[in-house]
Amino acid sequence: MTQTTIPAVSQWQTICPLTRIIPNTGVCALVNNEQVAIFRIGNEVFAIANYDPFSKAYVLSRGIVGDRQGIPKVASPIYKQNFNLITGECLDDESVSVPVFPVRVIDGQIQVGIT
């Protein structure tokens, strides 16, 4: 999954069952006092910050997910900028990116890593 680019995880926090997320949508979780947007595409999960740097609102979990040339991404629901779900980079403005979080599914439970 996505851990390769991310610093070592000191602890995994269980968020919710995978089934709690409707396929191809996202939810927002509070992890270590940070708002994290978690998306489910098929049975794969991705986690990035919920904060949209363009609108300055905590809304990315409510965006539409999909792909651009195979790169999984989410479009901000406010001004529609797209973010790469693997790297957090904004696909429409190279100068902007959002944090990504380690995330995995263990025994049907989604877990987000705290680094």
Partner: protein, 847 residues
């Protein structure tokens, strides 16, 4: 080969432009560039000098990137004026004693402000308006002044008056000629402009010749005019025109004009082939060009000529201008004074709105030669394009000054007819030409690339349809097949997807993607297909297979606002509501601390609901009998109405009852874009039905149906498609019209654009909808009947299902709302804080 020396005298806007051209051409490989700059700083934006008074610093105004000259080995002598040219030994010496051998010279010495020979003109408190130092001196003196006078009512004088006014001075403009801006505009225009400017609090005195400036204790005190009148003032700024700075050229024996100016040829060469002159110091065909654009053209020509002789020529320049002076639009273009033999004028002076518009046309009225616009210069770009391209005018050229005649053809339809100068994106000031050039030069083929390269459409997004049309037109012109693919995941247009879904009975996005698409979809195809599925099968939009397709508005059945909260709009059919229902809305708004506002569609908007509050709010509303208003959907919004014959003494039909019936019939109907309607009870049209996607106006005999109007970014009146209909026929036609629109329109295409692009337009639509020329009317009606039968209120369905409600929690793993939301009180209600208010005490976290 040793490099040759090229000396540029003057580092103003044009001098700098010349150096920039040489750098861009790579000419620094062949030339040592040396420049003398009399002012204590490198070139700055003199055109926007007044910005200095609005807080811009000298650095902000600078045109030269730091280290540009150093990195390109350009030797610059700042604060040192070149004083003599020895043409025999080819040496230039400066005031500081520097001497340089030259091979070629470019004179870019510019101009100086003309100060009329008035007695007392050098008194303390008199200024000119040319350099940053001039402005600094003005600014210092203004601090101890109450009244300021500008001598000269030209372009620069009025700009200067604006500066004085902004500094809080009582401001006067004194003009020698009988009108303001005598060079650019005519008498009538001058008067309209004077009225407009005086309305802004600047006093204008025309026909005034100043004879003396009287001092008191050595400082300006009053002015005396030739007619004997006087004007008290604390400071005076001379802006009575410019004179070319040609002294260095005169001293070395170059040919100059009778009234000054260094004579140049088409290559901007002076009488000495080794010396060029560009900008305001140059005289071409007995004319000084006192605007920056021609100066820049000369700089380019001179640079081209020095690198490749005879490659480019200066043959005069267009002096058309459009600017805002003291907030008043002023434009003058082409032959503004009708000097062409046989030319005629068409003018409209509107003293009510303070506008003046004049066109100058040729003898037969077929070509536009020039014109003047005061007060409203929005047509400038279009009109200038007509002049410059000699486009043949429509039969009634006066229409160019007025909205199109009833039933007449608007002269400029479609994006192709817009001029290159047209501003397409007003947020980022991007013109049609910039967009088209980016498309051509960089081979752009999709809208996101165009947005990225040009910034157009990245602000409010309102121009994206126009930018898309431009892209399509450009691609078509380039012979590239215009892909109508909705996005990279489906090689089909919306229309094709619609018929695939219908004919193959496809019920979900995944099924469509499997059979006809690739990848996993995106924010373009998903909502579009979600909408088509709803238009075709009318399933609940938040079923698990559909939920992920919906834009956030549809996904949460409310309209997202800038801070991530939502607005709630219950349906109020026809705008009719009982007092008890009104009270419910009031109570809900009060209990959830929502901001309330009346919408343009006769409904009530409750703003600032957190996502977790939406189900609680709707439980109350549904319980009281309200239904979803679908304000979040690409669907029917409202059917607005007047009170009609029920109350109104002029009403001829019961418009309210019809509006309610229609709103209930089409509520929840998903379409390519939102659509609106209205019903007026008489021809007075209080419901504004002619601005709607379909509008109905009562007649003595029945109902008139109008279609394809809209407000929004490009307002358009709806057009009459059928008259005096009975109610059954009316509804039949509307059923057909709406289903035909749903079948054939592009994604996010409003009905007006849809019809504008349709070959045959309204006539074709009549053939299809009234005369059933395609033989599809029965089908269309059946499809609509299915929609009407299967309607269900989405909010009612949602709150009845506890599992659905989980989606409305802000956090999936803990209770509680989004802690980042804040509120500020204003006029007895709450609103989100602006960025600068976030840290203020009155911004409180939303409870």
């Amino acid at each position: 080969m040793t490099k040759k020396n090229l000396v540029v005298i003057g580092n103003g806007m044009v001098g700098h432009k010349f150096l920039q051209c040489m750098i861009d051409k790579g000419a620094t490989a062949d030339w040592n560039l040396i420049t003398f700059c009399e002012e204590p700083r490198v070139a700055y934006d003199r055109v926007n000098l007044s910005g200095f008074f609005l807080g811009k610093t000298a650095d902000d105004l600078s045109l030269v990137e730091p280290d540009l000259y150093k990195n390109n080995n350009i030797q610059i002598h700042i604060g040192d004026r070149a004083s003599t040219i020895d043409r025999t030994s080819k040496i230039i010496t400066s005031a500081n004693g520097v001497s340089v051998n030259y091979d070629k010279v470019v004179l870019a010495t510019g101009s100086y402000p003309f100060v009329p020979p008035i007695k007392g003109k050098d008194t303390d408190g008199t200024f000119v308006y040319r350099t940053i130092e001039d402005l600094e001196a003005m600014s210092a003196h203004a601090k101890k002044s109450k009244i300021g006078v500008v001598i000269g009512g030209g372009l620069l004088g009025l700009e200067c008056a604006n500066a004085l006014k902004n500094m809080g001075l009582e401001t006067h403009v004194v003009e020698f000629a009988p009108r303001l801006m005598p060079v650019q505009i005519d008498d009538v225009g001058g008067h309209v402009l004077k009225d407009q400017i005086e309305a802004l609090g600047v006093k204008v005195h025309v026909n005034k010749s100043t004879t003396e400036i009287v001092n008191e204790n050595g400082t300006v005190h009053k002015m005396v005019f030739a007619d004997g009148s006087e004007l008290q003032t604390d400071m005076i700024v001379f802006s009575a025109g410019i004179r070319p700075r040609d002294d260095i050229a005169r001293d070395c024996g170059l040919v100059v004009g009778d009234r000054g100016g260094i004579v140049v040829n088409e290559a901007c060469q002076t009488s000495d082939p080794d010396i060029h002159a560009i900008g305001e110091c140059a005289l071409y065909e007995n004319r000084i060009y006192g605007l920056v654009a021609p100066g820049y053209t000369m700089a380019t020509v001179a640079a081209d000529h020095l690198c490749e002789p005879e490659s480019n020529q200066f043959t005069g320049a267009d002096m058309s201008t459009k600017l805002k002076l003291l907030g008043v639009d002023v434009a003058s273009f082409g032959d503004a004074f009708a000097k062409t033999p046989g030319s005629k004028e068409i003018a409209i002076k509107d003293s009510v709105n303070g506008t003046y518009k004049k066109l100058v046309v040729n003898e037969s009225g077929s070509l536009l030669l020039g014109g003047i616009l005061i007060g409203d210069a929005s047509a400038y770009g279009n009109l200038l394009q007509l002049v410059q391209n000699a486009i043949v005018l429509p039969p009634h050229p006066e229409d160019l000054l007025m909205p199109p005649r009833e039933g007449g053809l608007s002269f400029s339809m479609g994006v192709e007819s817009l001029p290159d100068t047209a501003q397409i994106c007003s947020c980022n000031n991007v013109t049609k030409a910039q967009i088209c050039n980016a498309i051509q030069d960089q081979g752009l083929t999709d809208i996101s690339a165009v947005k990225k390269c040009t910034n157009a459409g990245t602000g409010c997004g309102g121009c994206v349809p126009l930018v898309t049309d431009l892209l399509k037109a450009e691609l078509k012109a380039a012979g590239i097949e215009v892909k109508k693919d909705i996005c990279e995941h489906f090689a089909f247009s919306r229309q094709e997807l619609y018929s695939l879904i219908r004919t193959h009975q496809i019920k979900t996005f995944d099924e469509l993607l499997d059979r006809h698409g690739s990848g996993s979809g995106c924010e373009i195809c998903k909502p579009a297909i979600g909408s088509i599925l709803a238009s075709a099968w009318n399933d609940y939009v938040l079923t698990p297979t559909h939920a992920g397709l919906q834009d956030t508005n549809d996904a949460f059945l409310a309209n997202i606002q800038k801070d991530g909260t939502y607005s709630v709009i219950p349906r109020i059919p026809g705008g009719e509501i009982t007092p008890n229902m009104l009270i419910v809305i009031g109570e809900v708004a009060r209990d959830f601390n929502l901001y309330t506002k009346i919408t343009g569609g006769q409904r009530i908007d409750l703003l600032g609901a957190r996502v977790d509050q939406l189900p609680l709010i709707w439980a109350r509303l549904v319980n009281a009998g309200f239904e979803s208003g679908h304000a979040y959907g690409k669907a029917l919004r409202t059917v607005k109405s007047c009170v009609g014959s029920t109350w109104c003494r002029f009403g001829v039909q019961d418009s309210t009852s019809l509006a309610i019936e229609i709103e209930l019939r089409y509520r929840g109907l998903r379409a390519p874009h939102k659509f609106k309607s209205a019903v007026s009870g008489c021809t007075r049209e209080c419901a504004e039905a002619q601005s709607k996607d379909f509008g109905i106006i009562a007649t003595e005999k029945g109902w008139n149906l109008y279609v394809c109007g809209n407000g929004g970014i490009r307002p358009q009146h709806a057009q009459l498609i059928a008259e005096d209909l009975n109610k059954e026929t009316l509804i039949q036609y509307i059923d057909r019209f709406l289903m035909f629109y749903i079948r054939t329109a592009n994604r996010l295409e409003r009905t007006a654009t849809w019809m504008n692009k349709m070959e045959g337009g309204l006539d074709y639509l009549k053939q299809v909808i009234i005369h059933d020329s395609l033989g599809i009317c029965a089908e269309l009606e059946a499809e609509m009947a299915y929609q009407v039968q299967t309607y269900a209120c989405e909010w009612k369905t949602t709150i009845a299902d506890p599992e659905k409600l989980q989606r409305f929690n802000h956090f999936v793993n803990v209770d509680g709302p989004d802690p980042s939301l804040m509120r500020v009180e204003e006029r007895g209600q709450v609103r989100p804080p602006f960025d600068h208010e976030r840290s203020e005490e009155r911004s409180v976290v939303m409870p």
